[in-house]
Structure formats: structure tokens, C-alpha cells
């Protein structure tokens, strides 16, 4: 298996607080990796470091052998990292189809002449990618709907579809189950498994332990910004440090 993403000693300090402290791990092509940890463990910050949302204080991030930390978010995205957000960042006043098209268009880049005068081949490529992504998440029936008018659960899939339209090599899902009920969470788990089964590399930050333990091949556990475990779910479940972090130990 080839390594896709390498995180090396990633550190992020906010003033006196070290949100992520020397975290190192790798994600291989085709893997489904979960990142868990108690509140404030630095999971989302770690994701933001990878996608260029937040600059690193120390450490390095490589993607496909190229150093990506310090690059602009849109460049990192174009290298093949798609992501979703815990608080959705869809385009509420655009149609579902246009939302997803932005993902495809962003990847194909925008340049002067070709952009203004369209370029038939290009717009066809965008529309083909957009439809494929919508079908993957099952939203093709709502393509013409305004994104603000679809249900919260569907907006989650819309955001995933937008990332998929980029045809990324790695997709990062930040707390996709947040705000979903049990049935919806189960459906989401099945969806992520299917996505992974189709060959997508997935990095998943999740609060919902059941979801992560149920579908991930490997789980990285963070506590207070540090990595305390990095192993298969059944190993992590019995890990003393993990139990301590989650359940607390009496002094």
C-alpha cells in the first residue's frame, strides 16, 4: 500500500494552549482511518492543519510525497484532498446541482479566456462530474432544489457530494454524524463504508464512538492534543491510556 498522507510532528499552539502537540501518523491509499478523542482533544484542529485552514506551529504534512503545509487551502484541495465541515459550509442560496458543480469547477481551475467563454468540453466535464457525485450520494432527484431548502441530513450528503465532485484521492469528513439521529447515523455509516469499498481513502473525525469503531480499519486516538493510540479498533478499545482518557481515572 502506498502512503498518501504523512503527518509528521504536527503541532499547533494558540497562545498558551497547545491544541495539537507533535502528532504523527500516516494514511495509506485505500484506508479508512478514524480520529477520535474527548472534547477539546484537537481532532478538528488536526483536520484544519491538513487542509490548510490553520497554519502549523511546527511539523510537516506531506500528501503524495509533496509538502502541503503552508500552502493555500484551494491548492491543497486541488492536489486531491476534499473535505467536509462539522458546521456545514454549503452554498445555501445556490441550487444543489450548482453546489456540486463548484466542487468540479474548482478542481478544473478557473482561467481567463476559457472561463468567460465557457469551453464546451469543460462545462460538460463539470456537469458530468457533478451528476456522478450527486448519484453517488443519492441526491440526483433534488438537483434543481435550492440548497437552503433541503433537509439538514441531506445537506450533509450534499457537502460530501461537493467534495466527491472534486474527484479527490483523500476525503476528510469532520464529524459527519453531528446532529444526525440514530437511523441517520447508521445510514451514514453504511454510506461511508460503501464509499470506502469503492476505493476512496477516508479520514474521519467523529464523536460517535460506535460509528468509528464499527467502520474504521484503524483508529487514531487523541487526548489533550497528543496521540495516545493508533491501532485497529479492537486494540484501541482495550488500550489502558484510551480508557483513562475517556473514562477518567481517580486521582
Amino acid at each position: 500500500m502506498t502512503t498518501l498522507l504523512t503527518i509528521n510532528g504536527a503541532t499547533r499552539r494558540f497562545g498558551g494552549l497547545t491544541a495539537v502537540d507533535g502528532v504523527s501518523t500516516t494514511v495509506a491509499k485505500g484506508e479508512l482511518v478514524g480520529v477520535i478523542g474527548p472534547n477539546g482533544a484537537g481532532k478538528t484542529t488536526l483536520f484544519n492543519l491538513i487542509s490548510g485552514f490553520t497554519p502549523l506551529s511546527a511539523g510537516k504534512v506531506h500528501f503524495k510525497g509533496r509538502r502541503i503545509d503552508g500552502q493555500k487551502p484551494f491548492r491543497i484541495a486541488r492536489l486531491g484532498i476534499g473535505r467536509t465541515f462539522q458546521n456545514l459550509r454549503i452554498f445555501p442560496n445556490m441550487s444543489v446541482f450548482d453546489n456540486v458543480s463548484v466542487g468540479a469547477a474548482g478542481m478544473l481551475g478557473v482561467n481567463a479566456a476559457g472561463a468567460v467563454f465557457g469551453g464546451k468540453a469543460r462545462s460538460e466535464a463539470i456537469s458530468r462530474r457533478a451528476w456522478a457525485a450527486l448519484e453517488q450520494v443519492g441526491l440526483q432527484g433534488l438537483a434543481g432544489e435550492l440548497a437552503a431548502n433541503i433537509s439538514y441530513g441531506r445537506r450533509k450528503y450534499l457537502e460530501i457530494a461537493r467534495a466527491l465532485a472534486m474527484e479527490p484521492e483523500l476525503i476528510i469528513l469532520d464529524e459527519p454524524a453531528a446532529g444526525l439521529n440514530d437511523t441517520e447515523t447508521r445510514e451514514l455509516a453504511a454510506f461511508i463504508k460503501r464509499l470506502h469499498g469503492d476505493g476512496m481513502t477516508v479520514l474521519l473525525v467523529e464523536h460517535d464512538m460506535g460509528l468509528v469503531m464499527g467502520i474504521c480499519e484503524r483508529v487514531v486516538v487523541l487526548a489533550s492534543g497528543r496521540k495516545i493510540a493508533d491501532a485497529a479498533p479492537e486494540v484501541v478499545r482495550k488500550d489502558a491510556a484510551v480508557l483513562e482518557a475517556y473514562l477518567g481515572v481517580e486521582e
Binding site: G52, M94, A105, G106, V110, F117, S123
Partner: protein
Amino acid sequence: MAGTSPAMTLESVDLEDDWHEFSGFFGPNLPVAMDYYLQQLAIGLSLGMVYALMAIGFTLIFGVLNVVNFAHGEVYTIGAFTGLVVISAFAPPLIVVLLLVVAVGALAGVGLERIAFKPFRRFSDEASLKSRAMREATLMSSLAVSIVVREAVEIGFGSQFQTVPLDRLLNSPISLGPITIVSGDVIIFVVAALMLGGLQYVLKRTNVGLSIRAVSSNPLGAKYVGINTDRTIIWTFAVGSMMGAAAGILVGLYYGAIFPSMGFIPGIKAFVAMVMGGLSSIPGAVICALILGFSESIATIFVPSVWADMVAYGFLIVTLIFFPRGIFGGARDRV
């Protein structure tokens, strides 16, 4: 001006004798002929189209950056002066003048963005995106650029009205049934309609438009799907300023009034139209700009034309008090 288009409302310069001729409800010569109303409506339409062109620049920029570009009126002035220079240098046909003006307008917009907006934009997270400091800084910097440009034009050309070659004025009368309009009314309408249509095409059918809409809708979301927001913002300034510059030369040739501070009043009118339309709604801004144009030209039937400017301020106050989210609220597509 040839006396064909009676009361001018865009500038407070031509009081002339409309006041005596049409002195309102209490005047001696009522009822005003129906033709006159129709004529004022036609003038209101071209006036409204000009406001619409201007308002779009404001609206597009407000959409992507959430800031008001105070130098937009100067883009209008630059458009007019560019046209004047081009005409006096080699007197090309109007279409060539327009194309050159639009090109210079785009460049001015890009330059403005680089000087007054880019240095204050370092957002990559939500906090700085919503930061008031960023917004206020660009308020001041765009105001500063507008003052510098206005003064520079004044140093270069003097503060007085420029002499527009008479044959270039858009005032040949055209009879339309009972009313007489001038060629400028038609040209302004056609050019503005073409530009509005072009804008609609760019926004809905091209990648640049898709990115502009995406950045307006959610800048952070756009970044993380590979949209170069910085370049999108430059595009937005270019497109918005093209329209502003075109409005400047059209009005300049329509009224024959080209002077360094000409952009101020139309800038305010366009700003009012933007606020009325709901800040970042293009259809809203265009409709409100037309309402404003019609209201002003109708108002000049009853009050002297200097007072017609009060119509816009009145609308602004009413909008802010009763429709704080704009007449069309937030329900419409932002761009």
C-alpha cells in the same frame, strides 16, 4: 443639451427654467400633459439603467467581500474621463470608445482591489472573515483611494466641466409617437441591457460566475473545494468596474457633464439601490435602481430637479426603518 430632455436629475446643475414651467400642483399650467409624463418615464428608464449598472458593481463586491467599495463612484469618473480622452485623441466610433472605457474600467477595478482591499484581506478562518476591523479598514482605504483619484483627476483636468465635442453628445432627438426622446436614452438602454444580460450569462453559465456565486455564498466553503477566492475577488472587481465605467461615459455623453466629482451623486444613488435591494441581491439592486430612476424623473415634474435627489435619500430612510433587510429581504439568490 438642446432642450430635448427637460429636467435632469443626475446632477444638480441644470435647474434652468423647468421650475417655472412646471411648478407643481399649485402651479398655473396644470394639468401637465400626458406626453410629458411619458417622456419623463422614458428618461427615468435610462436614469434607472445607469443606476443599475452602478449598483451592480457595489452589489457584486459587497457579495464576495461583505464590504462597501467607496471608490466605486471614481470608477465611474474614470470611465467618463477615459472616454473623453479617447474621443479627443482619435475620435473613434462610440462602440470603440465604449470598449476602451470598459477595458480601462476593468483595469481600474483590479488596481483598486490590489491597492485598497487585498492588503487588508488575510482571512483564512471565520474570525478574520467576520472581523469588523477588516471591514472598517477597507472602508477607509477605498475612501482614501477615491479621494486620491478625484484629486488627481482634478489636477490633471481642472475641476470645471470638460468640453465634450458637440457632435459626440448623445442628444439627437428621436420622435416616438407623442413623445420625443434623445439618442442617449436609447443607447443607454441598449448598452445597459446588453451588459446586464452579459452579466447574467457570466454568473449563471461560466466558471468565473460559478466561483463568484460560490464565494458570495460561502467563502470558506469555496476555498476548500479548490476555488481560488483571491482570483475570484479580482474578477468581481473587474466585472463590477466595467459596468461602473460604462455608466460613467454614457452619462457623460448624455448630459455633456464630465467633471472630477461627477461620480459622487450616482455613487450614492447606486448605494441606495443596493441597500434597497437587500445588499447582495443583483435582481433586487436592478429593480430598485429602476424604481429610483422612475421616481426621480417623475418627481421632477412636481419639484425642481435639485430636490429630486431627496427621493433617493427618502427611499434610503424608509428602507432602513421598515425593510432593514432590503425590500426583497434575504430570500433571493445573492448574486
